[in-house]
């Protein structure tokens, strides 16, 4: 990325600006060391965490994820993964805010089905309304439905995050036209969240005009997560630059690149 773009093309979320448009999860890694190395290679400035029961006595001395990813250095984005109703998602957000000393940025996801992990958009809308009124800044996981995306924005969600494909599936952008429509309609940032499998998927999301991509499994489940994290960083930058550059129109037939004039035969 050019020096000029590094300073001018920034992602703004909840009043804070970020150079990186790649947001990463912290689950499924082999250990904390691999987590830290992969996240460093990704260049991500926003990282998601989950909130779960503390181990009581079972594993004393186990390092905590926030020791590896200190909130002073990273923007911590707690998620509501594993919540299948609005009430548990709301409780989880309140616990996360307490855990992070009043930090009120959360990733809301209310799941509808264990097999697909598709969002329960009805419960998501209900939870979003309560959480907005409770002062949260909500980045919301949703399906690729432009109408639901519009409703979530109207409620006051600050980032809309449609899935590209089911969480952890690595299937890539299954419905690029809907993602593009959501991007075109939205006045808030749109991030693809879930479903990316490899670097080209991330680049496609950015070329569609998304403001960023949030991913976890595509990096953590790669054979070499640190190398894939680096690949994803470059793909996000490449896709963003291509989007800003404005691609050439696709044509059915050829158009010679070398001049036709001056041929000597």
């Amino acid at each position: 990325m050019t020096i000029e773009m590094q300073t001018t093309d920034l992602l703004t979320i909840a009043g804070k600006t970020y150079h990186s448009r790649l947001l990463v999860g912290t689950g499924k890694y082999k250990d904390m060391d691999e987590t830290a190395r992969a996240i460093a290679a990704s260049g991500a400035e926003i990282v998601t965490i989950a909130v779960r029961r503390t181990n009581i006595g079972q594993t004393p001395g186990e390092p905590n994820i926030l020791d590896v990813l200190p909130p002073e250095r990273y923007t911590i984005l707690p998620n509501t993964a594993g919540c299948y109703d609005a009430e548990t998602a709301i409780r989880t957000c309140r616990l996360a805010r307490e855990l992070l000393d009043g930090h009120n940025l959360v990733k809301l996801e209310v799941l509808g089905d264990e097999k697909t992990l598709f969002p329960d958009v009805i419960a998501t809308l209900k939870a979003a309304e309560v959480l907005v009124n409770d002062g949260f800044n909500i980045m919301v996981y949703t399906n690729d439905d432009p109408i639901i995306a519009r409703e979530l924005e109207a409620i006051g969600c600050i980032v809309i995050m449609p899935l590209a494909a089911p969480i952890g599936s690595g299937l890539g952008i299954r419905n690029p036209l809907n993602i593009r429509t959501i991007v075109e309609n939205a006045k808030v940032p749109v991030l693809v969240d879930a479903g990316v499998g490899t670097a080209s998927d991330a680049a496609i999301a950015m070329e569609l005009g998304c403001d960023g991509v949030l991913m976890n499994t595509a990096i953590a489940a790669a054979k070499n997560p640190v190398l894939m994290a680096s690949a994803m960083r470059k793909a996000i930058e490449a896709g963003r630059e291509a989007y800003l550059a404005g691609r050439m129109p696709a044509k059915r037939f050829a158009s010679a690149s070398s001049p036709v004039d001056g041929l000597f035969f």
């Binding site: 999860g25 912290t26 689950g27 499924k28 890694y29 987590t35 998601t48 965490i49 989950a50 909130v51 779960r52 029961r53 503390t54 009581i56 006595g57 004393p60 905590n64 994820i65 926030l66 911590i76 707690p78 998620n79 993964a81 409780r91 309140r94 616990l95 996360a96 307490e98 855990l99 969480i167 952890g168 949030l214 991913m215 976890n216 499994t217 953590a220």
Partner: protein, 66 residues
């Protein structure tokens, strides 16, 4: 008296304060958050929060997740 601590039946002293429970678990000063009976209990109030029989206490922390 008995409470449910992270889903496990647990015996604690009568008039046990939430801060006492946290100290007993050697979790004092750790980055955690607590719910009692599905209601958030701010950290600043642990020292004055008396537990009652059959309270459902959840102590949570951050873990890796996507």
């Amino acid at each position: 008296m008995n409470i449910m601590l992270n889903g496990i039946p647990t015996e604690v002293a009568e008039q046990c304060l939430l801060a006492d429970l946290i100290a007993h678990l050697a979790l004092t000063g750790q980055r955690l958050a607590v719910e009692v009976n599905a209601e958030l209990v701010p950290r600043s109030t642990f020292a004055h929060y008396p537990l009652a029989p059959d309270d459902r206490v959840e102590i949570i922390h951050a873990v890796g997740g996507g």
